[in-house]
Subunit: 155 residues, 2 copies
C-alpha cells in the first residue's frame, strides 16, 4: 500500500534532478536531454566549477551542445537555487553546488584563485550574537578570507 505516491509527496527522496524537474514544470519550462546532461556533469564536479571546464567536459559527451545552452541552463539552476554563482576578478564566473551541501566559508588565494572551503562553529556563534545585538534575524552569511597560499608565496 501507499506504493506509487511515495516520492515527491514525502519530500524525502528529493534529489537535484527532481528539484530541477519540478522547478521547470512550475515555470512552464521543459525537461530536455541537454538540461539533464548539464546538471549531471555539473554535479560530477566537486566545489567550484567554471564555465570553461564545464563546457570542455560536456563537449566530450556531446560536441554539439552549444555554450549558449550551457549559460542558459546555469541561469535556471541558479534561479532554482541548486547552484550559486560567484564572480572573480578576471571577469569570469564560477558556479558552486548549493543543494545538500553544508554551508561553508571560503579561503581564497588572491594570486592563483585556489579556493578552500572551511567552517568554524565559533565564528558562526558570534555571528548570531552580533545579529541579536542589532535586532537582526540572521538569514545567511558570506565570509571570504583573501590571502596568499603557500605555493604562490614561494614565487
Amino acid at each position: 500500500m501507499d506504493f506509487d505516491n511515495n516520492n515527491l509527496s514525502q519530500n524525502k527522496m528529493l534529489n537535484e534532478f527532481d528539484i530541477f524537474k519540478d522547478f521547470l514544470q512550475q515555470k512552464n519550462l521543459r525537461w530536455t536531454p541537454q538540461r539533464k546532461m548539464i546538471l549531471e556533469i555539473f554535479l560530477s564536479f566537486d566545489g567550484h566549477v567554471d564555465i570553461e571546464s564545464l563546457h570542455q567536459k560536456i563537449q566530450e559527451q556531446d560536441p554539439s551542445l552549444g555554450i549558449a545552452t550551457l549559460y542558459r541552463t546555469l541561469k535556471i539552476l541558479v534561479d532554482c537555487e541548486l547552484v550559486e554563482a560567484h564572480s572573480f576578478h578576471d571577469g569570469k564566473k564560477s558556479y558552486e553546488r548549493k543543494f545538500r551541501v553544508q554551508h561553508h566559508d571560503h579561503l581564497i588565494c588572491t594570486q592563483c584563485e585556489k579556493t578552500i572551503e572551511f567552517e568554524h562553529a565559533l565564528i558562526e556563534k558570534y555571528q548570531i550574537e552580533i545579529c541579536e545585538e542589532y535586532g537582526f534575524t540572521l538569514k545567511s552569511h558570506k565570509m571570504e578570507l583573501m590571502g596568499v597560499c603557500e605555493n604562490c608565496r614561494k614565487e
Copy 2:
C-alpha cells in the same frame, strides 16, 4: 634643524599622494596630471566607486581624459595597494579605498538594505588561525551577514 628631510623619511605624514608618487618612482613610472586627477577624484568618493561614476566625474573636469587611462591608472593604484578591486555579478568591477580606512564587516537587511558596520575582535582572531592552518597569509577578508532588521520584521 632637521628641517627639510622630515617627511618621507619619518614615514609619518605620508598620504595617498606621496605613496602613489613614491610607488611610481620606484617602478620607473611618471607622475602625470592625469594620474593626479584620477587619484584626487577617486578619494573624493566614499566607500565603493564604479568606473562609470568615476569616469563621469572625471569628464566634468577634463573631458579629454580617456577611459583607457582611467583603467590603466586604477590598475597601478591597486598594485600599490591604495585601492582594492571587487567583482560583481553584473561583470562590472568596483573600487574601494584601502589606505587609512578602518576595516569593518557588514550586517545587511535583505528587505530594506539597511547596512550596519561592525567589528568583532574574536572573529578576526579566528580568521587568522584558520588561514595559518591552511598555510595562507591573510591579506583581507569580507564578511556579510544577511538578515532581517527589526523594522522589516514587524511588517
